[in-house]
């Protein structure tokens, strides 16, 4: 907690730097508005076992600025809608919100190429949207309806899309799996890589270290991304981890620390990392971020941290507000454009929410659909009092 507060106290500096960025940025203007700018990342990268790090001076075009802002705002809106649906008891069970962490996913996605893959844990509504699922696909999955991306069969933690190997409800289990996806990329020689994401809580699972070791031995194109939001469920990272410099925890694996509240820093670091894992070997990337909500909906999120701490981050480090201010200051986006995006996003998510509420559930036959691939007998054993024929409907995208 002390660490977080001390970070917060550095904030005025960042604001100043933002202003400085705008003043110093090499801005190419047409019609009084810029179409491209050069920006310094907010906070320097920290490196582990690396001589050179990611570029700290990055280019940002107007189109990119509009895109990242829209994406982050959409994720924020989806999460707000999800939180409300949960409170209305329309989403049941488990629901982990990404609000506050948007710059991590949007920054990484901005650097990813078509051949790249990603796998993450259970805070994946935002990633699902970024990987091509519509807000309806996300919200209807949450309400358990048939238009959900897993057709309502997965729910909050279990969403998938091509190249997105999903959320995972078991803490840390996705990390070795992502390493396997990296092995496949190498074996196929398609130049792709895999981002294997986990939180500061999962960073202490034994299988994470097994995965580091295998990835290093076999030089697999895997970026191990620790999204450090400072709290593993209800325990602050200082209490759960002997070393909270998660970017150094790969031992022999090099590492990069990134300000996860700065979408451009995350993009720059990911671009560097993609090149590195494809030419040298795996590395660990820590994106330092913050979640505004509790761990899940059953956690108010205030028993292990103060409301003031959350408020302070919201006011001073919010990834969306700070990016918006930067873009306006650089002249890349106008306040009118911001308003138009906000309105459009709000409308889209409101409509998606209404649809997700009214959408029908799948037919009950989907209870025994896709249990096996090529079931050996027509009837599915263990469901025989209804004499159910096994159904196989989908062949995986990987077949």
């Amino acid at each position: 907690m002390l660490r977080t507060l001390s970070r917060v106290s550095e904030l005025p500096l960042i604001v100043k730097q933002l202003q400085k960025n705008a003043a110093q940025a090499g801005v190419a203007k047409t019609n009084n508005y810029a179409t491209e700018a050069t920006v310094q990342v907010n906070r320097p990268f920290k490196l582990h076992r690396l001589d050179e790090g990611p570029a700290t001076e990055v280019k940002l075009t107007k189109d990119e600025a509009l895109k990242y802002y829209t994406q982050m705002q959409t994720i924020r809106r989806i999460e707000t809608a999800a939180g409300n649906l949960y409170k209305e008891k329309i989403i049941r069970g488990f629901c982990h919100l990404y609000s506050g962490q948007e710059a991590c996913a949007v920054g990484m996605k901005a650097a990813m190429r078509d051949v790249d893959n990603i796998i993450s844990a259970y805070r994946v509504h935002g990633w699902t949207y970024l990987m091509g699922v519509s807000p309806i696909g996300v919200l209807a999955e949450l309400t358990g309806a048939q238009s959900g991306c897993a057709r309502g069969k997965g729910g909050s933690m279990h969403m998938y899309a091509p190249n997105f190997f999903g959320g995972n409800g078991i803490v840390g289990a996705q990390v070795p799996l992502g390493t396997g996806v990296g092995l496949a990329c190498k074996y196929k020689g398609n130049g792709g890589m895999c981002l294997a994401l986990y939180g500061d809580g999962a960073a202490n699972q034994g299988q994470v270290f097994e995965a580091y070791n295998m990835a290093y031995l076999w030089k697999l194109p895997v970026i191990f991304v620790c999204e450090n939001n400072n709290y593993g469920m209800g325990t602050s990272s200082e209490r759960a981890s002997c070393n909270t410099d998660y970017y150094t925890r790969g031992d022999a694996l090099p590492g990069i620390w990134v300000d996860g509240m700065d979408v451009l820093a995350v993009r720059s670091a990911t671009e560097f990392a993609i090149n590195y894992v494809n030419t040298v070997g795996p590395l660990v990337m820590e994106t330092n971020t913050y979640r505004y909500s509790g761990h899940s909906m059953s956690d108010p999120g205030t028993s292990y941290r103060t409301r003031e701490e959350i408020q302070e981050v919201r006011q001073k480090r919010d990834p969306i507000t700070s990016f918006k201010e930067l873009c306006i200051e650089l002249g890349l986006i106008t306040t009118d454009e911001v308003k138009a995006i906000d309105l459009k996003v709000r409308k889209e998510i409101d409509e998606a929410t209404a649809f997700a509420k009214s959408d029908a559930e799948l037919a009950v036959s989907h209870l025994w659909t896709d249990v096996s691939s090529n079931n050996l007998e027509p009837k599915l054993r263990g469901t025989n009092s209804f004499n159910l024929d096994h159904i196989q409907e989908r062949k995986g995208v990987n077949h």
Binding site: G144, H158, G169, G234, R239, V371
Partner: protein, 347 residues
Amino acid sequence: MRPPSMTRSHFTYYPTAAGSGNAKKMNMFSAINNAMDLALQEDSTALLFGEDVGFGGVFRCSVNLRDKYGKDRVFNSPLCEQGIAGFAIGVANAGATAIAEIQFADYIFPSFDQIVNEAAKYRYRSGGLFDCGSLTFRVPCGAVGHGALYHSQSPEAYFAHTPGLRVVVPRGPIKAKGLLLACIRDPNPCIVFEPKTLYRAAVEEVPTEYYTSELGQADILRNGKDVTLIGWGTQVHVLLEVAELAKERHNIDCEVIDLVSVLPWDTNTICNSARKTGRVVIAHEAPFTQGFGSEIAAYIQDKCFLNLEAPVRRVTGWDTPFPHVFEPFYLPDKLRCLVAVKDIVNY
């Protein structure tokens, strides 16, 4: 919008009556809290740990215990189930009493190796030299209405396949307290699978003093002559309602048995009942194939073959992953169990 039938619990709770002596109204998490309070008080070597246990645990079972016994004895672990289990086995081996919480039964699999290969075999493989018996895992399990794939499973049968362990499942607050205290005192590594849907829903008058429930002992909750119904955990309450329905609608007298202890299980009580009624229905939430019902059915046909009027029936979760939105169709609810009772009588 869901119809109400999709959102309410699939069972009606049947409380167990308190015996004589002082008792206090408690739900199941309070009764477990009370049991751990007594255990920590009685045994100064007792330690309690697990994910978020320090501030009460996600189900509030350990609430206030850190304040009362100090953070040296009640503490949070990192999110690492294999580590929690190994650590618990080590500390128990060295003479402490370990009470470890695995936050959800669905998370127990990273620690499966430690429990099955280390805890269960320590005494045997060291020729009796080392003993990690003062070790108890508390593990919330079972359907809760909306848990989906990884917050709903009932993995008791995996552990029942391991000699050296004890596995119990309470049906409510009184039993939860007695079984937990018995497990903590028992010189074998024990796993208590606590049906999480009962933590708040189950309320009983629980004796306030220290007491233990016998391990390996089934409870006959309702006497009957026509059909024996066997279940454990939440399913016991489904079966008690089924017995009422069977009597009202079909005039069938069911005997309802809570198995309580899955390993070792009470073969005497079960076989005596099977011999009396000649018809047995076993119900559990876990899938059909290799569920613990398979073991009971095989044993009954071996020991009671000539007394049986019909093959032993099993009503269980399906052989599918635990479904999210289809949970009401997956569970062996009262109607599926009632159909089995009718079928076995008309066999």
